[in-house]
């Protein structure tokens, strides 16, 4: 469990690299910091408030305030793990989920409003949904299956992504100029580290190193392998060439799709889920690029679609003989698929409404988008006063304000 938590924490910088490689160099630091920043603000909001809202005792709709500022969260066991560790593990999920959204709105958002947005989102959208599914809320009562966060993490983030992309509008150059990835190796690095971290994400969700963890682990290994292979085939059939960005995307899609199912389906079903999920996401990516929706890094296609397919296939392929609490459609229980569909639809609706409300309110207080001219210069310089790869020509040292002439002369 300890190591699973560390692995999931690593996913957030990994995501930062996955995303940062895909944007233009002039906004790459900003994109990276949209993920890393989540480690700060959501990482702080979670123990202070978010955990309590998600896992505190409360109503079926939301937790309470009994664990605010970690009150009553100690080393005593909660289920099979110490309560404190459970809280930390769940915190890593909150952090990475908030960071996922950033992919839809890169290269155009002011940094501080963005941080406020994801902080609020983690409290007002993520925490309730986590409560519904894992915190004893109404979706868990209903019997929705979500092993490691297909609905809570990926569908909610995917929905927030599309809402945010629509509300904030496209980048000024979108569909006008070619916006190319500045460093595909970083994207591949990110996907490799994401895969590695995802073993903690799925494997750790059994909350013990037992048979279910093994199953989740093995599914987390072979589903992306299947997605990868299918994606290569689709690429080769369509263009005669397999792309590296495609491979990296396929890994993520396979991981997303297996997430809700990892501990509930047979390994062969896991392979099938990975293979099947590649198809809608593949065409989703193609289709999105023809629209005006500047979901810049295809969060919707990868996490939204991948999450939905995974959640529904969980309802089809879950097997009690492999540790699932209920069987899926294929094993004689068609109602489970209905329950899954309900969960998907409700989470989409709630996340969409919540995201829109937060963005709208924030927008009342301060502009969320940067000025058009700043977009042209790039967000690294305008938002952070830095360049990702500075060469230092023409850079003139500014003497710090406090350094008087005497201090200078002393040199």
């Amino acid at each position: 469990m300890l190591i699973s938590t560390a692995l999931v924490l690593l996913m957030t910088p990994a995501l930062g690299f996955f995303y940062a490689g895909l944007v233009r160099s002039k906004s790459s630091l900003n994109t990276l910091m949209m993920s890393v920043g989540s480690l700060g603000v959501v990482g702080l909001a979670w123990p202070l408030l978010g955990y309590s809202l998600a896992f505190g005792a409360g109503t079926p709709g939301i937790g309470g305030f009994d664990h605010v500022v970690l009150r009553g969260v100690g080393l005593e066991a909660k289920g099979s793990v110490p309560h404190l560790l459970f809280m930390a593990y769940q915190g890593t999920f909150a952090i990475v989920t908030a960071a996922l959204i950033s992919g839809a709105i890169v290269e155009r958002v002011r940094f501080v409003p963005y941080l406020l947005f994801i902080t609020l989102w983690s409290l007002l959208v993520y925490a309730p949904v986590a409560h519904w599914v894992w915190g004893g809320g109404w979706l868990s009562t209903l019997g929705a299956l979500d092993f490691a966060g297909g609905t809570v993490v990926h569908i909610s983030a995917g929905t927030a992504a599309v809402v945010a992309a629509v509300m904030l509008g496209a980048r000024k150059d979108y569909a006008r100029q070619a916006l190319l990835p500045h460093s595909v190796p970083f994207t591949v690095l990110g996907s490799g580290l994401l895969w590695f971290g995802w073993f903690g994400f799925n494997g750790g969700s059994a909350l013990a190193a037992n048979g279910q963890a093994v199953l989740a682990f093995v599914n987390t290994m072979f589903a992306p392998a299947a997605a990868l292979t299918v994606w290569i085939v689709l690429d080769v059939v369509r263009m005669g060439k397999a792309t590296a960005v495609g491979l990296a995307t396929a890994i993520v899609v396979g991981l997303v799709a297996i997430t809700p199912a990892a501990g509930f389906v047979a390994p062969v079903s896991g392979i099938a889920i990975g293979a099947l999920a590649a198809i809608p996401s593949y065409f989703g990516v193609l289709w999105r690029a023809r629209t005006r929706l500047d979901d810049s890094l295809d969060v919707v296609a990868a996490h939204g679609l991948g999450g939905i397919v995974g959640a529904l296939l969980t309802g089809v392929l879950a097997q009690r003989s492999w540790g699932s609490p209920v069987d899926g459609l294929l094993f004689g229980n068609p109602s489970q698929l209905m329950i899954q569909a309900v969960a998907v639809v409700v989470v989409i609706a709630f996340a969409a409404a919540g995201t829109a409300a937060i963005l709208f309110s924030l927008g009342m207080i301060a502009p969320i988008r940067v000025a058009v001219a700043e977009e042209g210069i790039g967000l690294d310089v305008t938002q952070h006063g830095e360049e990702a790869y500075a060469r230092g020509e023409g850079a003139v040292l500014v003497l710090p304000a406090g350094r008087g002439p005497s201090a200078h002369a002393a040199r």
Binding site: Q177, I377, G394
Partner: protein, 123 residues
């Protein structure tokens, strides 16, 4: 023959290329440069170090043309590269004595004429 050297903003490059192609200018070479002019400097900070950046990114185009192409080339660049803000760049016209096409060894006029086009030799 002349060499038209233009310094333009990176974000206008696509428009400039389009304008040049429409003016039937099809041979050109570009490079990344950094320029200093009247632009506002920006400040960057790395830990305790604050620096003023005196140079901004530009694109340099180098276009060898025969004489009667000089005007259209300049016109195309002027119209497509302009934003009206300080920092739009400059165009320089430099005399060229000879041009060779390396592939064929052809010289001068024919060296800069795309194979499909014909034009009067007036350089």
């Amino acid at each position: 023959m002349k060499m038209v050297v233009a310094i333009v903003r990176p974000e206008r490059l696509t428009a400039v290329l389009e304008a040049l192609f429409q003016a039937d200018v099809r041979g050109l070479t570009i490079s990344h440069v950094q320029g200093h002019g009247g632009e506002i400097e920006h400040v960057e900070t790395y830990r305790g170090t604050t620096v003023k950046m005196e140079l901004s990114e530009k694109i340099r185009l180098e276009i060898g043309v025969s004489n009667h192409f000089v005007e259209p080339t300049i016109a195309a660049i002027l119209s497509s590269a302009r934003t009206g803000e300080v920092g739009d760049g400059k165009i320089f016209v430099v005399p060229v004595e000879r041009i060779y096409r390396i592939r064929t060894g052809e010289r001068d006029q024919s060296a800069v004429t795309p194979v499909a086009t014909t034009e009067s030799p007036d350089s």
